[in-house]
């Protein structure tokens, strides 16, 4: 069921920080800070990951002129075991906190929960977002980062980035959240952890279709439908599914994917970018800024997440995926 927000909570600010390799992102000009050290001068990747989360949150708060005690809730997650980077960042931020895991779809699931808290009047301000640090995530899900395995063309590169948004009561000058769809967990039997786009595309398709249907909208009613991290191949598959369901070809140009575009056309990244920080970084920098500039009036953000673990993969399980969507408008 689609959630329609009567009070239309607003995205008051976004904070995005990224690692050294993310200088190559075609979106890097929209980020608040890019660090030269992938560990943020900390001892371990995980500590750097934590620092990254804190700094993204601080940028978001600074832009809106609020401080930690003003924030009622902190919603977020990452991909490391038990989400310790975000949990530890919550310790240092000292804001009431609920950790959320929707893999790379956490960037949107966290905003949905924060918007609901705003809607029922439980929160004036909340921080919501997600993050990923390449080294910490790769060792978790695949191989040590220095292991020389050959990645296929279907593989995606986990970004080092954190993106957090400050969500508050409706404000006309800021992009506002009109509606949201919480996705089901969809499994089309894909089982290749080096081909996540193919596993996630059906989840994105179902969430988009159900959102449009229940909102009584067509794709062309939006200025942009931006998925999270399907990558170039996953985006192709999503478009293929949409065409099959009767969507016209000219509408497909309104469909873009943050993962496919993140690093431009650079082939060293294979099918593109992924990771919880990928969609969060683009949604809470580029999208918010473009909406405030008036480039887009109505946007559908669809974050996709592959709900696998190394354990489930090794035990021969397929990869269930989810996609959560928020509809954002700007007067």
């Amino acid at each position: 069921m689609v959630i329609v927000f009567q009070s239309k909570p607003s995205l008051l600010a976004g904070g995005v920080v990224a690692g050294p390799l993310e200088k190559r992102s075609i979106f890097s000009q929209y980020f608040d800070a890019i660090y030269d050290d992938e560990r943020w001068e900390m001892k371990t990747n995980e500590q750097g990951h934590r620092k990254m989360v804190e700094e993204a949150c601080e940028f978001a708060m600074k832009k809106a002129g609020v401080k930690n005690p003003d924030i009622d809730y902190f919603m977020g997650g990452d991909l490391v075991n038990q989400m310790t980077p975000t949990n530890f960042a919550a310790r240092d931020l000292a804001i009431p906190f609920i950790g959320l895991f929707s893999a790379c779809a956490t960037s949107v699931s966290s905003v949905i929960v924060a918007s609901l808290l705003t809607e029922v009047g439980a929160a004036n301000f909340s921080l919501a977002g997600a993050s990923s640090q390449h080294n910490a995530v790769e060792r978790q899900f695949r191989y040590p980062v220095d292991y020389g395995s050959q990645k296929p063309q279907t593989a995606q590169w986990t970004v080092t980035a954190a993106g957090f948004a400050l969500i508050g009561k409706h404000h006309e000058e800021y992009p506002s959240i009109e509606a949201a769809t919480v996705g089901k967990s969809i499994d089309y039997g894909m089982d290749d952890p080096f081909h996540m786009g193919a596993a996630m595309a059906p989840a994105a398709f179902q969430t988009i279709q159900s959102h449009l249907e229940q909102r009584n909208q067509k794709i062309y009613n939006y200025d942009l439908i931006l998925t999270g991290d399907l990558g170039q191949l996953g985006l192709k598959l999503l478009k293929g599914m949409l065409v099959e369901s009767g969507v016209k070809n000219e509408e497909l140009t309104l469909l873009r994917d943050a993962g496919a575009e993140f690093y431009g056309q650079d082939e060293s990244f294979q099918s593109g970018a992924s990771g919880a920080g990928c969609s969060a970084a683009i949604f809470f920098s580029y999208v918010i800024q473009q909406m405030r500039a008036g480039t887009y009036k109505r946007v559908l953000l669809v974050a996709t997440g592959a709900l696998l673990s190394p354990l489930s993969f090794q035990q021969g399980e397929t990869i269930p995926c989810t996609a959560h969507a928020i509809e954002i408008t700007m007067k």
Binding site: P144, A198, M241
Partner: protein, 151 residues
């Protein structure tokens, strides 16, 4: 869209691995690593007291040393991305598997991290090498005992 239909779409969209290019790169890089190995063993034969039969051991150790340097500077994974099996199959690939795991798990300490995870990738190679050597040796022993073959 049904799962079956999606599977077909997925197979149409997903590019096949560039078989020929991959094989050519594996052959070239793998061959090159073995040629370097040949030069190293020649070095041990000329400058130290090794024979063709005994030069294998110091050669392998030296190749693993090269693998450590390349892995430490983040170069082995770049070679691996290009060469695939060409850099995975030589003993340098075995070294890379051990050393990359060691570097990765340093953050959890020398005992629990490095010690506990050193063979997390290469362990299967040791396991299957030892077990298959055991059974091959056993079978040979039985065959010799019953007089089918001789040592």
């Amino acid at each position: 869209m049904e799962k079956e239909q999606y599977k077909k779409l997925e197979q149409n969209v997903t590019p096949k691995p560039p078989y020929l290019k991959n094989v050519a790169k594996a052959f070239f890089v793998g061959g090159l690593i073995c040629t370097i190995g040949q030069a190293v063993s020649l070095f041990y034969m000329i400058f130290f007291n090794f024979t063709e039969a005994t030069a294998g051991n110091p050669t392998v150790a030296t190749m693993v040393f090269f693998a450590m340097i390349l892995t430490g500077f983040g170069l082995y994974k770049r070679i691996g991305q290009c060469a695939g099996a060409g850099s995975a199959v030589p003993v340098t690939g075995f070294g890379n598997a051990v050393i990359s795991a060691a570097i990765e798990h340093r953050s959890e300490g020398l005992v629990l991290g490095v010690g506990g995870n050193l063979f997390k990738l290469a362990g299967s190679v040791v396991l299957f090498g030892v077990v298959s050597a055991f059974f091959v040796g056993l079978i040979k022993y039985i065959l010799v005992t019953i007089g089918v073959v001789s040592w």
